[in-house]
């Protein structure tokens, strides 16, 4: 069978978790439909090639490394031209991207360059012979659309967290190539990248999210949410739109219809009433906990475990109890 391409996203010389997810997805797609190789494309500053081994561990047979001093940061035009060229040069039957901030920018450009269609932000897929179908949550997650891709290659971008990386170790063949266009000729340039809260876990990569709403009453009270996330250990902090609109938290922390769409294993909603706009961003969480003083708040209709009460008493107690458990 023809090979499948996987774009391996990196930042600052390190692979993103979504890179392992796209390689895993490509491996699973190939293995479930007659086999064939998985080729990963890795683009970055000189030295990025050292990450090829990790991609082999998750099932890449070939890693195509494109190293260039100017590519230490994402450049939309150079990356799109380079991935499109790779796609053209092989007889690929499909290509996987992550539906991350970078992948959502890159994948449609590559698709349009190649005049092929893209199933964007999919949470599942099936390869049966030549037929490729994929599931995409639409209408703020209220409708699941099953899409069929009839063109070749079939392009898909995968919602972060929807595939669990699985090791399928092999030693990948390393191929090197230059960028398909001179980075100096790019019309769009990136002058800086500021890491905000770089040490903190990203919402899209976290398996546990603690999120705060207006019920916290003031920006400084978000410390309660942060303390709880810290006590749990591997949790990220999110917020509602009301809170980000008021500037208590940066806009990028917003979970909801117009913010981030997340599916963690555990979502703890603190002082969140549960407006539809917010539920749209987190209703697919596996387990939902709600802490709110209003027993009629809509969040309690979808919370697996609800506590009606004053969050200023409940949350510190929960943080304490979790710290006690963690200590043992």
């Amino acid at each position: 069978m023809a090979p499948i391409l996987a774009f391996a996203e990196s930042r600052g010389g390190e692979l993103r978790k979504v890179a392992l997810e796209t390689v895993t997805a490509a491996r699973q797609a190939a293995d479930s439909s007659g086999g064939g190789e998985v080729h990963a494309v890795l683009i970055g500053a000189p030295g990025i090639g050292a990450r090829a081994e990790a991609l082999g561990r998750y099932g890449a047979d070939v890693v195509c490394c494109v190293e260039h001093a100017a590519l230490d940061r994402y450049n939309p035009e150079v990356f799109a031209a380079t991935v499109a060229e790779r796609l053209r040069s092989g007889s690929y039957r499909a290509a996987f991207f992550a539906a991350s901030a970078q992948g959502r920018d890159l994948a449609p450009r590559v698709a349009a360059k190649q005049r092929v269609s893209l199933a964007s932000d999919v949470t599942g897929f099936e390869f049966r012979g030549e037929v490729v179908t994929a599931q995409h949550p639409a209408y703020t997650g209220k409708v699941i659309v099953t899409l069929r891709l009839t063109g070749v290659p079939a392009l898909l971008s995968l919602r972060p967290g929807s595939v669990v990386p699985v090791e399928r170790p092999r030693t990948p063949r390393l191929e090197t190539a230059g960028p398909a266009m001179d980075p100096a000729a790019a019309r769009v340039t990136v002058s800086e990248m500021s890491q905000r809260g770089a040490t903190k876990l990203d919402l899209g990569e976290a398996t546990i999210i603690v999120s705060g709403g207006r019920g916290l009453r003031a920006a400084e009270n978000f410390k309660l949410v942060e303390d709880l996330a810290e006590a749990i250990g591997n949790a990220a902090v999110g917020a509602t739109r009301a809170v980000t609109d008021d500037g208590w938290r940066p806009a990028t922390d917003q979970i909801g219809q117009t913010g981030r769409l997340v599916s963690p294993d555990l979502y703890i909603a603190v002082g969140i009433s549960g407006a539809i706009q917010h539920l749209a961003g987190m209703r697919t969480a596996k387990t939902i906990v709600a802490i709110n003083k209003d027993k009629d708040a809509p969040i309690f209709r979808i919370a697996d475990y609800g506590i009606v009460g004053d969050l200023f008493e409940v949350v510190p107690r929960l943080t304490d109890e979790i710290r006690k458990v963690r200590r043992h």
Partner: protein, 250 residues
């Protein structure tokens, strides 16, 4: 400055949806429509840029059935100068097919800026903007949360997971706009009256062939009904027990 803003008519997301008998579309009964959330931000950005320049044109474009005329009129009421409906029924799901229609309309019109929302609120794919840019061969920056335009060049901020990028680009360019950049204005009564007299052209959409097809639509499985396990801080030990032994997430 000549600006085009591509907007989409989407169902009101607060509604309950049900699937039609063909099992691949929404039951239209009782659906209310509005302008996509992000499209509203894009239009506001376009209007503010035109106002700052003191002159210029802001055209609103939409691909869809005659119902989109209502959405286009709303754009005119907010302050756009003219509107174009690219008639298509139904609107294909394939972003590339739509991008073909928009690129065909936009290619000879010499716009300085072509604006989109970051994604449509309904199909939530976010592909049409960057695809249109590629088909037109124009520079493109997506998901912009901050924007400055001066002397034929632009600077934009894009938010990433835990980081932000500053991008620079020449005009003409295609931009997709994220939330929070500028709150869309409400149409005034005067604006609504004026909109009735503004030009709204209708042309058939020159859609590309669709290779991304809707096979079926389904409602996601219902979550089990919510459950309140207790009141106040005294309920915390029970919550912990359930998270550890029942949900097994801690």
């Amino acid at each position: 400055m000549k600006i085009a803003v591509c907007i989409k008519r989407v169902p009101d997301m607060e509604m309950r949806f049900s699937i039609a008998g063909d099992r691949k579309s929404l039951d239209q009964a009782g659906l209310k429509y509005e302008m996509g959330d992000f499209d509203g931000y894009a239009l506001e950005v376009g209007l503010q840029l035109a106002e700052k320049q003191g002159s210029g044109e802001v055209a609103v474009l939409s691909v869809g059935p005659d119902g989109v005329q209502e959405t286009l009129r709303k754009g005119l009421a907010m302050g756009a100068t003219r509107a174009v409906q690219l008639k298509a029924e139904p609107v294909p799901f394939d972003g590339l097919a739509i991008a073909h229609a928009l690129a065909a309309e936009l290619k000879d019109s010499a716009y300085d800026l072509i604006l989109f929302g970051r994604m449509a609120t309904d199909t939530a794919s976010g592909t049409v903007g960057p695809m249109t840019a590629e088909l037109l061969g124009l520079p493109c920056v997506t998901a912009i949360s901050k924007l400055e335009i001066a002397n034929g060049r632009g600077t934009a901020r894009r938010d990433l997971e835990g980081a932000a990028e500053t991008m620079h680009f020449p005009l003409p360019a295609v931009l997709t706009i994220d939330e929070g950049i500028a709150r869309p204005r409400l149409a005034s009564l005067k604006g609504i009256m004026a909109a009735k007299k503004k030009p709204l052209e209708v042309r058939p959409a020159q859609l590309g062939e669709a290779h991304l097809l809707v096979e079926s639509m389904a409602l996601p499985p219902d979550r089990p009904p919510g459950r309140i396990i207790g009141e106040g801080a005294d309920a915390v030990p029970e919550l912990l027990r359930l998270l550890q032994t029942e949900a097994k997430v801690l």
